[in-house]
Chain length 338, copies 4
Amino acid sequence: MKFFSDNAAPVHPRIWAAMQAADAPDTAYDGDALSARLDAAFTDLFGVPCAAIWVATGTAGNCLALSAMVPPHGGVVCHREAHIEMDEGGAPGFFLHGAKLLLAEGEGAKLTPETISTVLDGIRPGVHQVQPHAISITQATECGRVYTPAEVSAISALAKARGLGLHMDGARFANAVAHLGCSPADVTVGAGVDALTFGCVKNGGMSAEAIVFFAPDLVDVVRYRRKRAGHLQSKGRYLAAQILAMLEGGLWLENARAANAAAQEIAAACGERLIHPVEANEIFVVLSPAEQAALRGQGFDFYDWTAPAGAPGAARLVTSWSSPPHEVEALARAIAAL
Amino acid sequence: MKFFSDNAAPVHPRIWAAMQAADAPDTAYDGDALSARLDAAFTDLFGVPCAAIWVATGTAGNCLALSAMVPPHGGVVCHREAHIEMDEGGAPGFFLHGAKLLLAEGEGAKLTPETISTVLDGIRPGVHQVQPHAISITQATECGRVYTPAEVSAISALAKARGLGLHMDGARFANAVAHLGCSPADVTVGAGVDALTFGCVKNGGMSAEAIVFFAPDLVDVVRYRRKRAGHLQSKGRYLAAQILAMLEGGLWLENARAANAAAQEIAAACGERLIHPVEANEIFVVLSPAEQAALRGQGFDFYDWTAPAGAPGAARLVTSWSSPPHEVEALARAIAAL
Amino acid sequence: MKFFSDNAAPVHPRIWAAMQAADAPDTAYDGDALSARLDAAFTDLFGVPCAAIWVATGTAGNCLALSAMVPPHGGVVCHREAHIEMDEGGAPGFFLHGAKLLLAEGEGAKLTPETISTVLDGIRPGVHQVQPHAISITQATECGRVYTPAEVSAISALAKARGLGLHMDGARFANAVAHLGCSPADVTVGAGVDALTFGCVKNGGMSAEAIVFFAPDLVDVVRYRRKRAGHLQSKGRYLAAQILAMLEGGLWLENARAANAAAQEIAAACGERLIHPVEANEIFVVLSPAEQAALRGQGFDFYDWTAPAGAPGAARLVTSWSSPPHEVEALARAIAAL
Amino acid sequence: MKFFSDNAAPVHPRIWAAMQAADAPDTAYDGDALSARLDAAFTDLFGVPCAAIWVATGTAGNCLALSAMVPPHGGVVCHREAHIEMDEGGAPGFFLHGAKLLLAEGEGAKLTPETISTVLDGIRPGVHQVQPHAISITQATECGRVYTPAEVSAISALAKARGLGLHMDGARFANAVAHLGCSPADVTVGAGVDALTFGCVKNGGMSAEAIVFFAPDLVDVVRYRRKRAGHLQSKGRYLAAQILAMLEGGLWLENARAANAAAQEIAAACGERLIHPVEANEIFVVLSPAEQAALRGQGFDFYDWTAPAGAPGAARLVTSWSSPPHEVEALARAIAAL
């Protein structure tokens, strides 16, 4: 019973179907009919002119999006626990040619105008220190927390005032929007985001994420960078098909709601154990080594996590669109019984 | 009727089946059971201990393989028409951090010890000029020509004598082996190749190529580089499944033979028009603009090509594992009738 | 008797004097009073608003200038024999983060609109091939040839028409202007050049070259790149002093005229041996191995050079501001006597 | 009266003399007789076989040295306040092609095995996080503190145990050795350091620092990297001359002792105001804004500094080999009188 991550869940049947429907030969790379529909599909979703392209991974998506905003000698403000800092194997250093991540604090891995300003104000202007060119936030965060539209707007106001781009890592964007109940535009373009990595893989896709540019001219340089990074697949239609199927009929939200609901069911059993409020599909719980062993003994698979200072041990539990209801229920019961 | 490339052909049914059989959740990235089988599968195929990893594109495969052999201040000898020089959007410069391609000549886009030596001997030792660290050859070449085991051995002897690594871009390796009728080892590890990009996408795959290291310790650094390049997909099992299915029962050779046979059928109709001997699945033909227009008018889709000096016009025709026999026959007839 | 290059000549007494006059402590880096005078000094020289900064080497100057014009995924058109291609150890790949040099032909290492167009027209638009972003020409060229203002204007017209920046490597700019007899502006900003590497080291300086931007806003990014490349020396006043002394009273032209005159004296003795017209301070001559040995036996030090096809051997002879007249005369006589 | 830094002090007369003695033409780059003496000079100084090369700046020296130890996908452990992190404009990201600085804590900007281990132990092995390849320490530190031989040995023992290289940024190495009274080998090669940036510029030089490799084979790759970074000056003899003169007769220690003595004189006047013990030539003092203004009103020039939490204000005072005794005395008196 796998609760270690949503990133290895099966592919949703409607994604499979869309991929197979794309099997007829078409123009290579992104010259096919499906890839050509991405701009329109996201323009529909967000209600403003968008440019959107596919890539295979969130790492590539995040770093390529940032490469349109940040020169090699520049920096990106992000949270100390951000995926680009902690879990991408140094990819920002590669894609941005040595640009620097400028690390900020914030509860629940959420940045605030205050924590960002602390970083910005600590940088001496001039050539001796790396100057910021963009801010990157994660929605939902690495702690499963969700930025409200107002929170994003406050950050974007700061970004604008300082002349910085604003990128959103939306590996779990669907989970965040499902939680907020707002429109996807409210928490992105309406709140001043310039580029969004729109995650699909964790939400029932196989191998496609979209980079959505609300400042559509940013896409031009990214097309070159994508090719140059070996990310322009020749059978791109199978990636476009996944993304289009995800948007079709709101599958992205449907899947995210299912994952969020499963997380809530488990969270309800965790009570005082919860380290962070559960807003998306990740649950961080205090669990002693013995308790972890007990759960693993019952067949539950999950990651150790670093406990907040003083806590005796912790774990991360992640649900997905496909978490079997009986496994979710079993996990909730098992935790309650500890 | 699409003869513009094999890189947009449909996915073979056995590849689809293998991908779908991989749908159950497993460990993420390359920690899954299928990815774990790659080393053994290629060790079986080549008869020596191999290390093998998946990537999504040939560009990533070529450049990651080379990144294990070439430092940022070094160079790679390749043919002036090599894919890494002509068609990868500068990816070698990105993956190798500014290392340089050192361009050599050779008929049919084939390097020879002589043309390589001309390049090597023209480089002054010392820090003022970029020094070579590897040679990269393409099998089959960009002109559809195939290196024999003896030809590869001669190049590897030179590489060894000069302390250079030897990489083979095998985007159409299957077509080359199908043409040669030798074992895959004969023309690679047996002939001194250090790393092979083993192509699947052009041969019925969807989105997986293998990098095969005959010097298995080279893989270690490439694992880091793959992650850092955003190429470590979290649902890697779907890529491993494609490669394993391709090897299973010799599908890779079966598909290549089909493509090669279709190419021979068309070649037979081309007679004097042929610019290069047809050895794999690419046919380069002299076709005047009017003839090209005539063929296109009949529904044949293909690329213009640069004609050899003095020729009145040229085109590239590419067959694939799935080229419909009646379309192949129709094309052959149409050319013969010109 | 050293005629191997002008790049190891002594430092001119007026440069020494200026450096020593700069010895009093001042603000570090380029915050000193001398560095602050560079913009005005070059604005005076060229008659238009210029921004100018010092660097220690021509390689750094060329590559930093280009880094303001060319993104990592772009390319620079230059001559096949250009210093940036042949003699900078891959520095453009480093400073430009993997951008590509696009090599053009041209007699005497001079580009022409035609040879540049041949390169440009051979590049397919789109992401699969590296697109040009700048042209770099060398004045005087690696063969000692000089572009006229009209020739530079013709190249800049092409650059403008194609949206490309135009950089001039002026390691021997002084020698070129001394030959032309025009104003320095005529052959640079007046002819459409965007940035000039203004050489001093080969012309009597010790360790300072200037990068002069005729599009002054280009300097901003280069200030960051210079620091990041470890080229922002803390005692920058000693570099600024060299450059200012070079401009003061026309020392740069005076030194170049001396070097050119010495070259003419030698050239006059070479007659039919000359491979290129002698316009600056380099002389390329046909010299058989025996003749080379004879000259070396008389104490003359120079580099072998690659002879034009069919010629029996060649050498490069370089004069400098400090070539002793009796050595120049001796060399001329020795060649005439061969 | 300038106490803002030692990095803008005049050039020592013996350095000037040595540079002028190098004026006769010699082979270019580092082929001259003086550059050829560097290995032997440092071998003498350290008592073990050394390879040593010149560069113009400490930034280039630090980053080039590290480039021999750290691949682009690797990391360097350094102090959060290290110069490479805080004051080199992102140069490590450039020279190391995106490698990452892994920041550790430590009082007085000194690392300890414990603070380094905290960083190392927090890194998950594998490709998802950047793995360490080297440790860089600064001697004396950015807070003017000095590592003892035993402290360096403890760090190198950890480095060896973890398979990491050990680099020492010795911009103020002379000041540290002058303070310690040990041999220069005791605190470097004898304590396990692999490469040392041996500073001269802050100690009476003009534009030359040495990189000294105690593992001499590391120099080979750095020679290529230096050229590629535009740091191979053609008149290298003037840089070699500076370094040789600095070593000659112990000038480096003599100058450092003068600077340290001046710092002690000022420190003695600071009493409770001292933020760090004064061991080299930097004095960090608590000074209220009013006190700072008072000192500046008397003609003293220095940098503001970030005060330790809770302190009302702070400043950094730096002495050099050339700090005029009467100015030092005046500053001491002025502080005492506050």
